[in-house]
């Protein structure tokens, strides 16, 4: 987990596998740099494959930015648990957080690239989702 102080949109990576989440975050850091708040979470609370809401909330907290946070997820539970985590946030924060419909690795790199250029949350999301377009 790591973070940076900036007004850029934060990126959260959620995978069933902590190795995938951490690896994707490594790619973002190496390719895009440190100008973007970034956090990752993966695995269930017992350390197995899965995702957990508490871990996602923690990652959102770490990557939080006044510009908002874009979440990249892999499969099913990662998405539903992320949505659950978003619903548990305070209302003013809920409006500044999105789950992107994009591949987790590519989406994270693209979203972070957008964010590093100072793009707003909607642009970050749109760009990540362009990967499927």
């Amino acid at each position: 987990m790591n973070n940076s102080n900036s007004g850029n949109v934060g990126i959260v990576i959620v995978s069933h596998s902590p190795k995938i989440a951490e690896g994707a975050a490594d790619m973002v850091r190496q390719m895009v740099g440190d100008a973007v708040p970034l956090a990752w979470t993966g695995g269930d609370s017992d350390g197995g494959l899965g995702t957990n809401v508490a871990g996602i909330l923690e990652a959102i907290e770490l990557a939080w930015s006044p510009a908002g946070v874009a979440i990249l997820v892999d499969l099913g539970g990662a998405e539903t648990n992320s949505e659950m985590a978003v619903e548990m946030l305070a209302e003013d924060r809920r409006a500044r957080i999105v789950v992107c419909n994009a591949p987790v690795v590519e989406g994270a790199v693209i979203a972070a690239t957008e964010s590093s250029g100072g793009s707003p949350l909607a642009t970050v999301k749109r760009s990540a989702e362009e990967f499927y377009a």
Partner: protein
């Protein structure tokens, strides 16, 4: 002469062009694409590039579109830049490509 006021009044800027050869061994792969996008985003000018002098043009500020070009090593990147900081933008982009995005 440098008539800034006239340029502002018309709200038009001369379109600048320039080209540089890709020297990176793998061409415009993911990492250079990100760097190109980040560099372009640092300027307000409209910045496009192509593999031929007459296009088709790609928005250099879109990471997805830049990666889709998949420009190989040895390809010439043609830039087309329009905006108030166009000159600085073009110079920065050409330097970036020429220097192999810092990885050559």
């Amino acid at each position: 002469m440098h008539d800034v006021d006239a340029g502002r009044a018309a709200e038009t800027f001369v379109t600048l062009t320039g080209s540089a050869v890709l020297v990176n061994p793998v061409g415009l792969h993911a990492r250079p694409s990100v760097k190109l996008t980040q560099c372009a985003k640092g300027f307000v000018a409209k910045i496009e590039f192509a593999l031929a002098a007459d296009g088709p043009w790609t928005d250099a500020k879109s990471p997805v579109k830049v990666m889709r070009v998949k420009a190989p090593q040895g390809a010439t990147l043609y830039f087309c830049v329009t905006g108030p900081d166009g000159e600085a933008a073009l110079a920065a982009l050409l330097t970036l490509v020429h220097d192999g995005f810092g990885e050559a």
